[in-house]
Symmetry: C2
């Protein structure tokens, strides 16, 4: 049964509950853990709350955002459910980078469906976060049909492609320091060449800047980027996203935040703006 799951923990926070669950993922062919924050409003009989999917960055698990983003206070106020999946398939049978690199393989699934061996069997994070996990959430929790998506770095880009590839499926979209144009940066080129192969034509359907060229989605996008982020120039390239959004006529609010780096200390500083950006649409 794809809709079964096992509760690992429950911690009350801001009147609601942070919970972790393990389940057997069919799309990833392995066991996965995800975290969910259920605000106090979720306890009301008949409640149906909007849900924000948060996609984390390289090396993260379901835990980083829930522990470090200082998001739960605002989610409790807004009545927003937040779901944080892991960043790759996991477990001994899942292949990993041969050198144990932190920017490829486990902890670095890039939210795409791999086509190349030995990755194609398990590395299908796109199917997992856009289809299987939402189905699991919608079968087990009091969620409405309103979905938002956001994320950080690799996960910021993941949020962009999940929304751009599924017009109408998400009603709100934002990102922190996304790897905006992975086809043209070292992290992305390494991951795409292994997961997708050497033909760069096939990369275009997994790159936000390329997808924007033909995007039917018209969601306004909020992006925060630290100006002191050490990955800014080489890996993140927000100017590419800005140019692509302008060419596509898609409303992008790109905020360069003076002095901020790539860490959760940056995310925590601006997560409230993002949650309000999502809730303004999702809670209508």
């Amino acid at each position: 049964m794809g809709l079964m799951m096992e509760q690992l923990s429950a911690s009350k926070s801001f009147g609601g509950f942070h919970k972790r669950f393990r389940h057997n993922s069919q799309s990833l062919d392995c066991e996965m853990i995800f975290a969910i924050y259920l605000p106090p409003q979720a306890e009301k009989t008949g409640a149906k709350l909007p849900v924000l999917y948060w996609l984390s960055g390289l090396t993260c698990t379901d835990e980083n955002f829930m522990q470090k983003a200082a998001a739960l206070r605002v989610a409790a106020e807004l009545g927003l459910i937040i779901v944080a999946p892991d960043t790759s398939p996991r477990g001994d049978k899942v292949p990993d980078d041969e050198n144990g690199a932190w920017d490829f393989g486990k902890g670095a699934g890039f939210y795409l469906n791999a086509s190349e061996q030995p990755w194609a069997q398990h590395y299908r994070m796109y199917d997992y976060v856009t289809k299987e996990l939402p189905a699991l959430i919608e079968a087990n929790f009091p969620v409405s049909d309103k979905r938002g998506i956001s994320g950080h770095s690799m996960g910021g880009h993941g949020a962009l492609i999940c929304a751009l590839k599924n017009p109408g499926r998400y009603q709100s979209l934002s990102a922190f320091a996304p790897i905006a144009n992975p086809s043209n940066c070292p992290w992305g080129e390494k991951a795409f060449s292994k997961y997708l192969g050497s033909n760069r034509e096939t990369w275009r359907q997994w790159d936000a800047c390329e997808l924007l060229k033909t995007a039917k989605e018209r969601l306004p996008i909020l992006v925060d980027q630290g100006a002191a982020d050490s990955f800014l120039a080489e890996q993140l390239k927000p100017e590419a996203l800005k140019a692509a959004a302008e060419a596509a006529g898609l409303p992008l609010n790109l905020r360069l935040q003076e002095g901020y780096d790539h860490s959760y200390y940056f995310i925590a500083s601006f997560i409230e703006d993002h949650l309000r950006h999502h809730a303004a649409v999702l809670s209508q």
Copy 2:
């Protein structure tokens, strides 16, 4: 020079900066790392801000509170500097529990001065957090002479004894889920018998409930305790603190928080109340 230190990192957060420093501690005879949050007000010329010392619990380092407590937003609003030391001496030359236990030795200094071998040379966290670290902070940062102290679990008790043993030195005091009466619980008895020896008479000067019997300090104490904390009955014993405070005539506001556990999800939920409790006194 005891007042020298090396900056390891600086991350902007809520307009201020989270920074980590390494220095050579004379009282602990080893290198130590501490974290400090400097709110945006610290950048003003001539500013002198109050400082809250946060003592963490078993297994923690300087990082847990700063990453997980969701405290920096409120500290930025209130103009409160927060200092988070490590929980024990560190390094290869520092002896540790022979079985690598997490509740004794490294990560478990209990904020006392050990008298027994092999612990007495390095395990002097009381001197470190009440004297050496404040001197270092006051020599290097724009702090006023207003000091508050708080902490969690082992560190909640640490905050209590640091204040009770130094009347007038701290102007505000609070704790989350303190190990209230370590002379009478397994964690405390294990640590005290090794650090202080088997003579329980000597334990009394390191136990908050004993110190309250002769306390000259009259600070109001705010304590939050999760009612679903799995350590509540066996290790934490807030009822002992309540009885001791009542007998001493010291104002204790002990709040039993329904459904909350021992984690930082609990701390994050109530840290704002604690920071305002401190700032109400310290910022006058």
